[in-house]
C-alpha cells in the first residue's frame, strides 16, 4: 500500500492532537482557544477572507450609529477588533488596513495614511485576545486602555506630519492649542490631543466588541480557529 506523504494530512493530525492538549489547558475562556502555532499565520482560509469585508462593514456601521445617536466618539474600530478576536492579529491588521484603504478611495483620501493606526489596533487586539485579555469585562477595559495608547502612539507622528499635530476633534484640538500656547513641544501636545479622544473611544470600542464576542455562537468562533483544515462548514 502506498504511504501517503501528504503534508496536509499529517499537519491535520498533528493539529488535532495539539487541539486536544490545548483544550485541557484552556482556562475559563469560554471556548475561544487560539491554537498556539497559529498566532502569526499567514495562511487564509475562505472563512477568514470573508471575515474581512464584514469587519470593514461593521466598522462603518459602528461609526454610522454613533453619528445617528450623536455620541461624542468615533467608534469606527469595532469590526477590526472583532476580526482580531476571532482570527488573530494578522487578519485584524489586514481588516484595518483595507478599512482605511476603502475609506481613502471612496470618502476621504487622508484616511489612507491612517491605515497604519488601524493595523496597529488590529495587531494589538489580536495579541491581547490570544493572551486571554478579552475573557472578562474588566480585562477588556484594560485591553481598551492598551489599544488607546498604541493607537495614540502610532497616530501622533501622522497627525504631526499632515495636520501639524491636530486631529480635527474639537476638544482634542482645543487642548492642543492650550498646550502649545504654554510652550509644550508639538509632539507632546499632539499626543495628548490624540489620547484625550482615543481613551474613551477605544475603551468603549473594546467593551462593545467584548459583549458582541461573548454573544456569538460557538459554531461561528470555531470556524476561525486556525489549525485544522476545514473540510465541512456545516
Amino acid at each position: 500500500m502506498e504511504r501517503i506523504h501528504n503534508f496536509e494530512l499529517n499537519e491535520k493530525f498533528i493539529n488535532i492532537y495539539w487541539y486536544e492538549i490545548l483544550q485541557k489547558f484552556n482556562s475559563k475562556a469560554g471556548g475561544d482557544i487560539m491554537n498556539k502555532r497559529r498566532l502569526w499565520s499567514f495562511s487564509f482560509t475562505t472563512a477568514t477572507l470573508v471575515l474581512i469585508p464584514a469587519a470593514v462593514g461593521i466598522n462603518y456601521i459602528g461609526k454610522l450609529f454613533a453619528g445617528v445617536l450623536k455620541l461624542p466618539l468615533w467608534i469606527d474600530s469595532i469590526g477590526t477588533a472583532l476580526a482580531s478576536m476571532l482570527s488573530g492579529p494578522i487578519v485584524g491588521a489586514i481588516s484595518g488596513a483595507i478599512n482605511n484603504i476603502i475609506y481613502g478611495l471612496t470618502m476621504d483620501p487622508i484616511s489612507f495614511v491612517y491605515a497604519l493606526t488601524s493595523v496597529a489596533i488590529g495587531i494589538a487586539v489580536g495579541i491581547m485576545a490570544y493572551n486571554g485579555m478579552i475573557n472578562t469585562l474588566w480585562k477588556s477595559i484594560i485591553a481598551g486602555v492598551v489599544v488607546a495608547i498604541v493607537a495614540a502612539i502610532v497616530s501622533t507622528p501622522l497627525n504631526v506630519i499632515f495636520w501639524g499635530g491636530q486631529t480635527g476633534n474639537v476638544w482634542g484640538d482645543a487642548l492642543y492649542a492650550y498646550l502649545i500656547a504654554h510652550t509644550v513641544p508639538i509632539w507632546i501636545a499632539s499626543f495628548f490631543d490624540e489620547i484625550v479622544v482615543d481613551f474613551p473611544d477605544k475603551i468603549a470600542t473594546m467593551i462593545v466588541a467584548f459583549l458582541i464576542f461573548k454573544g456569538l455562537p460557538k459554531k461561528l468562533i470555531q470556524i476561525y480557529q486556525g489549525g485544522e483544515k476545514i473540510e465541512k462548514l456545516d
Binding site: A54, A177, I223
Partner: protein, 256 residues
C-alpha cells in the same frame, strides 16, 4: 440593484480610459516630488496639474465637496499655528489682541498645500476610475484574485449595511427603544442597534464562505478575465513620462 460604494463619475473622456495603474503612479509622483524637491511651489504646480486633469475629465465639480471637508480643519490649523506655533518670531498681522506670526502661518500654509495636493491627486484616480476596473487592473498586475474579491465585496457590503440602518432603527424604536435623550440613554441605545447587525453579518460570513468554496474560490488554476483590456497608445507614453519626471526630480535633488 445594489450600489457600489464609490465616487466614480461616469464620463467619456480620455482620462477615464487611462490605465488605473498609471493613475496610481501619478498619485505617487504628485506626492513624492514635492517631498523630494521641498519647495512650496512644487506642491502648487502639482495642484494645478491635477486641477487641469480634473477639468479635462469633466469631474472638477465633484472635487469641491471633498476639499470643503478638509477646509474646516485646515482653517483651524492656520489659526492655531498662526497664533501659537513654537518658533513664532515675526508678527505678520494683528486682529484685535491676537498676533498672527509669519512662521506659524507659513507652516500652516505649507501643510495646507500638502493636504490639498494629496486630495486632488487622489481625486484624479478616484473620480475617473470604476472600482471594479481598478481592482481588475491590480489583479492583472499580480494581486491575488482572492484579495481582489475581498476589496470588491467590501465595496458592496457597505451600501448593503447602510440600507439596513433605517429599518433597524425603526424596528427597535417600535419595540420601545429610546434613541433620544441624555447621553446615558443614547449610549444604552447603541447596543440593541448594532447588536443584530453585527451578529447577522458575522453569521452570514459562514454562508458566504460556503458559497465561495462551492464556486472554486480557492482553486489554484489561472483565472481568466471577463473584460478585454484595451491598451491605448497614450498609456505607454504616460507611464514613461511619469517615471521620467520622478527620476528627474531625484537627480535634481541629489546633484543640485
Amino acid at each position: 440593484m445594489t450600489r457600489i460604494l464609490s465616487l466614480y463619475v461616469e464620463e467619456d473622456t480620455l482620462v477615464h480610459k487611462i490605465d488605473p495603474i498609471n493613475k496610481i503612479l501619478y498619485i505617487i509622483v504628485a506626492v513624492a516630488v514635492p517631498v523630494i524637491l521641498p519647495y512650496g511651489p512644487t506642491g502648487l504646480v502639482f495642484i494645478f496639474i491635477s486641477a487641469v486633469i480634473l477639468l479635462a475629465s469633466k469631474v472638477f465639480k465633484k472635487v469641491i465637496p471633498l476639499i470643503e471637508f478638509s477646509f474646516l480643519i485646515l482653517f483651524s490649523i492656520v489659526v492655531i499655528q498662526g497664533l501659537f506655533h513654537p518658533g513664532n518670531r515675526v508678527v505678520a498681522f494683528n486682529i484685535g489682541r491676537f498676533k498672527f506670526y509669519r512662521e506659524g502661518l507659513l507652516y500652516a500654509f505649507t501643510l495646507s498645500i500638502r493636504v490639498i495636493n494629496i486630495l486632488v491627486a487622489f481625486s484624479v484616480l478616484v473620480l475617473t476610475t470604476k472600482p471594479s476596473d481598478l481592482i481588475e487592473a491590480l489583479v492583472r498586475k499580480g494581486l491575488s484574485p482572492r484579495f481582489g474579491y475581498v476589496l470588491s465585496s467590501t465595496l458592496q457590503i457597505i451600501p448593503q449595511m447602510i440600507s439596513t440602518v433605517g429599518s433597524i432603527m425603526d424596528a427597535q424604536r417600535s419595540r420601545g427603544l429610546e434613541t433620544e435623550g441624555n447621553l446615558a440613554v443614547r449610549i444604552r441605545a447603541f447596543f440593541p442597534l448594532i447588536g443584530p447587525v453585527v451578529m447577522n453579518s458575522l453569521i452570514e460570513t459562514r454562508e458566504r464562505a460556503m458559497a465561495l468554496e462551492v464556486r472554486a474560490f480557492n482553486s489554484k488554476e489561472k483565472k481568466t478575465f471577463l473584460n478585454e483590456r484595451k491598451d491605448i497608445r497614450s498609456d505607454r507614453v504616460i507611464l514613461l513620462g511619469l517615471l521620467f519626471i520622478l527620476v528627474l526630480a531625484i537627480i535634481f535633488r541629489v546633484f543640485l
